[in-house]
Structure formats: C-alpha cells, structure tokens
Subunit: 552 residues, 2 copies
C-alpha cells in the first residue's frame, strides 16, 4: 500500500475565494455563510470523484483559507453559517476512494491538516468571537459530521431522512479520525453507550433522538429550517465580542521563489538537502521599521513582519509535511536584529486587545502549534547574529533541541519577552516555557523577569538550551547530532516526539492528536483496513471485506 | 509477522513465591526486598534466552504476583527495595528476541500487562503506603529503567559504568512503551530536550548527570551503595501509613475447572463460543453469609466474596486477553441475590479505613480498570434474577452497552450503592458514573441518593442502561446487537472503544494507555520495526536495519 498514489503534483496551500472550486463564501452583515458545493471532477487526483460533497485535501485547504480570511479580512463577521448548496446532502465526509488510493503517509498528513482546520474553527470561536453554526440540510456523514462537531451549534433538518452519522467503523473499518470520537464524548459529552451505538451503525441518528442524545442541538422541519438557521445565526452573532467595524487585513499571496531545493519567501527560507534528508528553515527578523500602533498595523496590513513571517513559516511547514516526506530533520535558524523582534513584541503586547493584533497573536500561536505537531525533528541552531528573541524564541522552545555556540570572540545571546509569558499556549494549554519547566514551575516567572539577554553559559544554566559547545566543538557536535538523528527509525522518532513534546495536562486538542490520531494511524496500517481485502480497499467494489478476527 | 510464535501453551497468571523462577522475595521488618534474578532458560517460549535479567511475560507475572501478595499477605511491609541479584546488571529490559518472535497481538497484550503491573506499583504507593525504591546496582536499560520509573525513588550505583537508558529508539526502532516516555516527562518531569537526547542515545546517562537531569534521585559509590539503599528504604518506610501489625490475608490458588469452552471458578464462569467469537462472563452474588466487620473479613481471608469474586474475574479477563484473541464480544451477567451484594458493599463502605478492606477496594478498582482496558466489546445483559447492584453494577458501567429486559411479568431491577460514589475511579480519575454523565454532572449525586432499586423504565430514563426491550423484542435485539458487533472490524472496534471509554480528564495512566500505547502499537506494525529488515527483527543478527525514510 505504500506504493499507491499521493497527490500528483506538489501540494500548495495558498488560495483565495476567487479561486475556490468547492466553497462559496457570502456575507450578510455580521453573518457570513460558508457553503459547501464540492465539484466532483475537481479533486487533487484524478482517481476519484468527489461525489455527494465528499472532500479531499483540496476541499479542506479552501475551508482553512476561508476561515483564515474571515478572521483577518472581515472583522465585522460575528457568526458563520456552514451549510451546503447540494439538495438534501450536507457532506458525505472524506472521500473514501481518495483514502483507499492514498499512501499511509498521505492519509496521516491529510487527517492532521483536517484536524488542524477543525481546531482553527474552535479557536476562532474561543478567541475571535466568531461563532459557527452547522446547518445540516441533509445527509451528514463521517467527516461531514466531524465538521459539524467543530461548530458551536448543530441544527439538522427533520425530514424523516436526514441524519448525522459516523459510519467509518461499520462501513470502512477505520475511525472517524478528524476528532469525531473525541468531540462526541468530550465536547458534546454524549454518553458512552449512546456514542458506542451511534459509532457502529452506518445510518446514524436523526430527528428527536439526535437531539435527546446530544448529537445535534435542534431539529427543524424543512419548512422552518431556513428561518430558524437565520435566527440562531443572529443569536450567535449577538454573543460575539468582535469590534464590528473597521477595515480588514487583506491576505495577499506569499509568492515564494520556488526551486527544486528551496522555497524563498520574504522573511523565511526553506532549504532542502535530500541527500542528508535535512532541511533548514531560516527566519529573518524585521529589516525595516515596523508599525507600533494597532492602527498602523492595520494600515500596513499583511506586510507587517509578525503576520508575514509567520504566514510564510506556516506555508513552509505545510509544504514540507506533504511534499517532502523523506526530510526527517529540520534545523531552525533566525537571523537579523533581535531588538527589532523585541520591538514588535512590545507592540503586540501593548495592543493585544485590538482585534487585528489579537488575530495576529492567535495566528502565530496556531503556527507554532503546527510546528509542535509536525512529525519531523527540529534542532534550533543559535549562532552569533541570531535573532532568537521573544516571539522568535518560541521556535527554539518548540524545537526538540537547541544548540548555542559559545565563542568568546563572537558574542551570541538570546532573549525572552512578555510574549513568551502566555501569548502562545501549546495545545496542552500551557506555554512552552511552562511545559519545559514542569519540574521547576517557579523558574518560568524568574526567567521572564530577566532584563538582560542570556549569554550562552547563562542560557545553558537556565535550561533554555540543550547544549552550548565552544567554537572548537561546535561543528562536530552539531554535525554528529544531525547525522545520528538521520540514522534513527523515522517511525520511532515520530512516536517518541509525539510523546515527549506534550508533557503536562491534556486537552480535547491533545486527545485528538495523541490518542485518536495515534489509534487511527495504527488502524490505517492494519490489513483489516488497507490489506487487499481490507474494508477501506473493498468499499465500493464487489464483495465484503475479510478480517483477521484477532483483537489486539 | 502475524504468523510468528505466541506463547506455546495457554498462559496462566497464578503463581506464588515458592514457584517463582525469576524473583526472590525477602523480608526484614517493614522493608521487603524484591530481587530480580531471571533464569535464562525459563522463558515462556524456547526461542529466546532471558540473558542479563531481561524479561518476558512470565517474569512480569511473577512481579505482579509479588506486589499483590505484599499488599495482602504482608500488612507490615512499608517499603520495598527492588534490586537485582546479578552482578553489575539491574535489568536489560524486555527480551528483544522474545519481542522479535512475537505476533503483533501478543506484543500489544504483553505491553498492556507490564504497564498494568507498573501502575499497580504506583497504586500501592499512593493508596497502600507501600513505597518502592529502585536500587540499581548496574546496567538498567529499557524496560528495566521503566520498572525503576514506576518506583518512588531511584538510586544508581556510581561506578563509572552503570547507567540508566531507554535504548529502544536507537537500537530497536520502537518506543519504550511500558510508560517510559510518559513517566520521564510527566512523572519525573525531565526537560523535553534532555529527554529527547536521552531517548536517542543507546548508552543512556550515568553519574551526576543522571541526577542533575532528574533521571535518578541519587548516585552512590559502590562502597556506600548498600548502606545508602538500606537507609533510604527505612526513610521511605517511615512515610508509610500502613498499620504495621496483624496477620495478612493469604491469597490461595483459585483452582478453576478448565475445559476447552469454559473456565469455572467459585463465583465467576467464563464460557467461550468460538464459532460466534463470543464469550459470556457470569458473576455470582454471595450465596452464603459474609463477614460484616473488618476483623471477620481478615478471619475468612480470601474466601470473602468481594475479594474472591474479583480475583476470579481478574484472572478470567487476563486469560481471555492472552489466550482467546478471536473472541471479540463478551456478554456480562450477574446472578443471585443483589441484597447480598449490597450488604457486602455496606461492610466495605463502613470499614474502608481498615488496611484489609482498603486493599480489597483498591483491588476491585484495579480489576475494573483492567476491564476498561480490555480490547473486547462488553455488553451487559440485565435479566430477571440479576445481581447488578452496587459494586457489581460497576460491571454494567464498565460495559460498552447494557440491555435490560422489561417484562412486567418478571420483575427486574438494578441498584446503586455508596460504593458507586467514589471507591472505584477509572484511570481518568473519575468514577464510572461521573464519566458516564459528563454532560449532566448533577445527575450523579441524584442517582446515588436514590433509595429504591431502578426498574427497567426508570433505569432507561435515568440513563443507566442503553436499552430496555420488552420480552417480545429482547431476544432479537440482543442477538442482533451481538451479531452486528461480531461483523465489524476488530481493529476499528479496539480503536473506537479506546476513544469512547475514557471521556473527561487525562492522567499519567490514560496518557500511557492512550497516547504512548497507541503510538507503540502503530510502530509495532510498521515495516521499519517488524519488516524483514526492520530494526526489531534485525537486532542481534548480521547487518543493519533498512528503513523507509518517509516520515508520517
């Protein structure tokens, strides 16, 4: 199964509403409507048709883009109706033939991205005052229901036929892996026996029972459905704390220079060394004056360094994940003037209540989470001339290890800022500093109170870096660390990093990525799913799947 | 790899110190010493030698037995030294050739059992006042260090050579899956970069660095090692709240009648229908007067129904897991007089501070957790004459679904007791009632306050059962539910149940079974570990492993 197709060409993640093939985005005052209308013949690969509003990665890339643009470009939007333009069909879920024909790695990364997109909706609700209403006008199955689960409210048409369902286990022998099982019992708090029944019947539940069992918030007859959806959307909008006025920030194309070995953006460069299975990401500090008020930030828009640099970093991570599976280790560098980063941090911190600054901070947070969840080894290399300060120091904290050159002839330092103190929580709910110092919790405030940058020995003593070799040892130590990493089993590293990176509390989010995803990945390897007669392979073909009945 | 050996004969789990092949258990006042001295040629299978104190399931069965007996038979023991009788070797971890030659299902169940045993040590520390000191006299690698991590304190000899290590990732391409990664960052709160380094170097860390990095609590030179271990063990014993006097409760053999289709114990019967891939477990209520004071309980010892019935249930679950992998669904019944169960519950509740009653309650708790973690579907069948009351009702709450016959001609009821209120927390830290009613938390106290048993319709309305068919529907509904379950992918069910059963908070324990185990099971399927040139297969043979470098 490892030989099956992945997306034909390298996947790109940038799009915009004018280019959408599968979604329509419309606006009516504070209520936006995001309508799914998947084009059957516009999948990322040609070996499947996206029937019945089923989706592939391309559909989800547009969804992610739409949510992002609502946050930045439409500060007046307070509620989003998520519906379908197809008759009596909301969404049939992830396309099964796409899954059946995808490599293991592609399935894993596809699910990771869709999970991140669903969580971005919940993040928009929790932190941007954008409330989501899933308006289910018909069949809502599998990933379709998982999309609904990511909304604040779910309403279903009561037409005697339309139902919500998670048919993955009974039909496909896999899990609803885009957060479905977790959200059913943890977010909607459905009783486990009802969830168990629901997750094993292909037809799902409908009508009053769907409400009584907590799977949806309300059902309405077809005649009242549209009006009730509109009414509830207005009510949701009324709960919002968004400012409601002002121009948005347009997210313009990033236009990186793309060569076979490099993605070069304005502030971020990703360089690939396929021979060594190594990549290097360099982030540049601001190299020109940056706006220092909220209004000035809105005025410069997406040219503002903090937004631009992290949009580029996010795009680079996504391309790396999907298009360069053999690159196992990524070195992270930051160059330029750390004072310029700290100045931006001061502006972000002072204006964090402004809607646009709030969006930028939460976007940086999500990008850093994307890094935490990227199954590659990250080594930060801190050399003289580095710009690892404040927000950029989070890249060091998100790395598996950090090496800092200690050469008395070449001053080298790192710095923290107020932004390391709580602006960028990880998916476990703690900051990276708190997670790092779980065993010495008092140390976090102590370090944040430091008024001077940390020289290499101080950084080492403070526990902020892993190693601080001198100039004689630096080259060998870094080279050896990278070479040794590259020799280890990529699977063991993925599992190891997934366990070591998230110490401390668990949340719905970490449960999805830790527990649900890990089990799904296991199932995605099993012959009962992906073998020649596995359920995922046999679906839609003649005959029934054949199972090895041994329980593990 | 699915065709490789499992344990040759059916595995049994009962043993006692006189039969131990691999451990010596000795006593010196309040300090017990549990010494590992693995017999190379006494493995469960003949295709590997247990060199260097490496272990297989048989070694761990003895360890589990020893811990259990210390709790019940030796109420005077307050601290346990875990050491080794081999020179300069503490333990080399799980035997790699055993793992390499085991089927996937056996590996999964082996790891589950070893994890439960480690957690039983932590449970004894937290709830029985038995503190564990790992005294590492030499090499302590992989599962050996995971055993040490389960202890309250770890001391290591400082001889320039002895180290602690988790070499699974660098040497074998798998994870330290017996809680190792989780305990390193969550229990011992080792910094993630130090944990990352440690988990990727086969040689581990030793001496002062091991202390500074929090991997061990102290190192001592060989000359002082024995004295310091004795001193620390006494200090640990001084922290204990155990009573320190009185006779223990001897755990006698269970002696079930074993036939090809049945395990028949005194109170528990497990019946297998291999054709339907179905088992039935029936638990009988007490059928004779039971002791109603703590002293009387100690006097009747292991004949006390609450202890005996759950020892039998535990043994049946373990045999089912290891010896009957194709049995996918288990129906659970309880027969006899529910009043007799409620009377025992009253005794347990009234005497919960007595050491023996405390042990019995925590043992029942652990057995119920074992059921939660058993990857089979459990359906409770509640019929007239049932004894699902109080403690036995936990079996219903631990089931994936419960069906209750509603026939007006045949009275049928269930009942709660104070014991459902907090005595048997799940591994998520909540009771089964709390987990069940996560969406209606007030309901828990309301139900616990009910003074009358619940008739079928009341039980259904209260949300205590999944369905209450009448006598016309009962047979068909139950039969269909069982048949439909038996048709589903066993892997998807395992993953689904692992996600639906543990709503609510996560703990170190759920992290181990959810996140760490799920990732390990994934890796245990991957060609990079178990393929012909996978790391686990190649270990100890000529040549190096070959990896598919794609990261997922």
């Amino acid at each position: 199964m490892e030989q099956t197709a992945t997306a034909a060409a390298p996947v790109t993640f940038e799009t915009n509403p004018a280019q959408y093939r599968h979604w329509k985005l419309s606006f009516d005052g504070p209520v936006a409507t995001l309508s799914m209308d998947v084009r059957e013949d516009a999948g990322l690969r040609s070996d499947y048709k996206l029937k019945l509003n089923s989706y592939d990665l391309g559909v989800d890339i547009e969804l992610a883009d739409a949510i992002q643009r609502i946050r930045f470009e439409h500060p007046d939007v307070k509620a989003v109706i998520v519906n379908s333009l197809k008759e009596r069909i909301f969404c049939a879920g992830a396309n099964i033939f796409m899954l059946g024909g995808s490599s293991h790695g592609f399935k894993v990364n596809f699910c990771k991205f869709t999970n991140e997109t669903r969580l971005a909706m919940e993040d928009a609700s929790a932190h941007s005052g954008i409330k989501f209403l899933a308006a289910l006008n018909g069949i809502c199955a599998g990933g379709g229901y998982e999309l609904a689960l990511a909304c604040d409210e779910i309403v279903l048409v009561d037409d005697g036929n339309s139902a919500v369902s998670l048919p993955e286990t009974p039909l496909l022998g896999v899990l609803p892996g885009t957060g479905g099982l977790t959200r059913v019992v943890d977010k909607r708090k459905v009783r486990r026996d009802l969830a168990d029944f629901f997750s094993t019947v292909a037809e799902g539940v409908k009508g009053k029972r769907a409400v009584e069992w907590r799977f949806v918030d309300a059902v309405y007859p077809t005649s009242r459905f549209k009006d009730e959806v509109a009414r509830r959307a207005k009510e949701l909008a009324a709960q919002s704390d968004r400012p409601g006025t002002g121009p948005g920030i347009i997210l313009n194309p990033l236009n990186p220079k793309v060569t076979d070995e490099q993605l070069a953006y304005r502030f971020v460069t990703l360089t690939i060394d396929r021979g060594k299975r190594l990549a290097e990401i360099t982030v540049k500090a601001p190299d020109a004056p940056q706006p220092d008020t909220a209004d000035a930030i809105v005025a410069v828009g997406d040219a503002f360094w903090a937004l631009r640099a992290f949009r580029e970093f996010d795009d680079a991570l996504l391309r790396l994940r999907l298009n360069e599976p053999e690159i196992g280790t990524v070195t992270i560098k930051a160059t330029g003037n750390p004072e310029a980063v700290l100045a931006v941090d001061k502006t972000l911190d002072a204006n964090r209540d402004h809607w646009a600054v709030r969006e930028i901070i939460h976007f940086i947070k999500r990008t850093l989470k994307r890094m935490d969840l990227t199954s590659r080894s990250f080594f930060a290399l801190i050399e003289p001339g580095n710009a690892f300060a404040g927000t950029l120091f989070e890249l060091v904290l998100a790395s598996d290890r950090a090496y800092m050159l200690d050469d008395p002839d070449k001053p080298n330092s790192i710095a923290l800022s107020a932004m390391n103190g709580g602006s960028y929580p990880m998916s476990n709910g703690l900051t990276r500093l708190q997670t790092r110092f779980l065993g010495e919790p008092d140390k976090v405030d102590e370090l944040l109170a430091a008024e001077e940058p940390f020289e290499p020995q101080d950084a080492l003593d403070a526990g902020l870096v892993f190693s601080a070799p001198d100039d004689l040892d630096w080259d060998d130590e870094v080279r050896l660390a990278i070479e040794e990493r590259a020799a280890l089993s990529p699977d063991a590293l993925t599992g190891m990093e997934a366990n070591l990176r998230f110490a401390g509390p668990e949340t719905l989010e970490t449960k999805i990525f830790g527990r649900l995803t890990a089990w799904q990945n296991w199932i995605f390897q099993r012959p009962n799913a992906v073998g020649e007669r596995g359920a995922l392979k046999v679906y839609g073909r003649e005959g029934r799947p054949e199972f090895d009945w041994r329980r593990c």
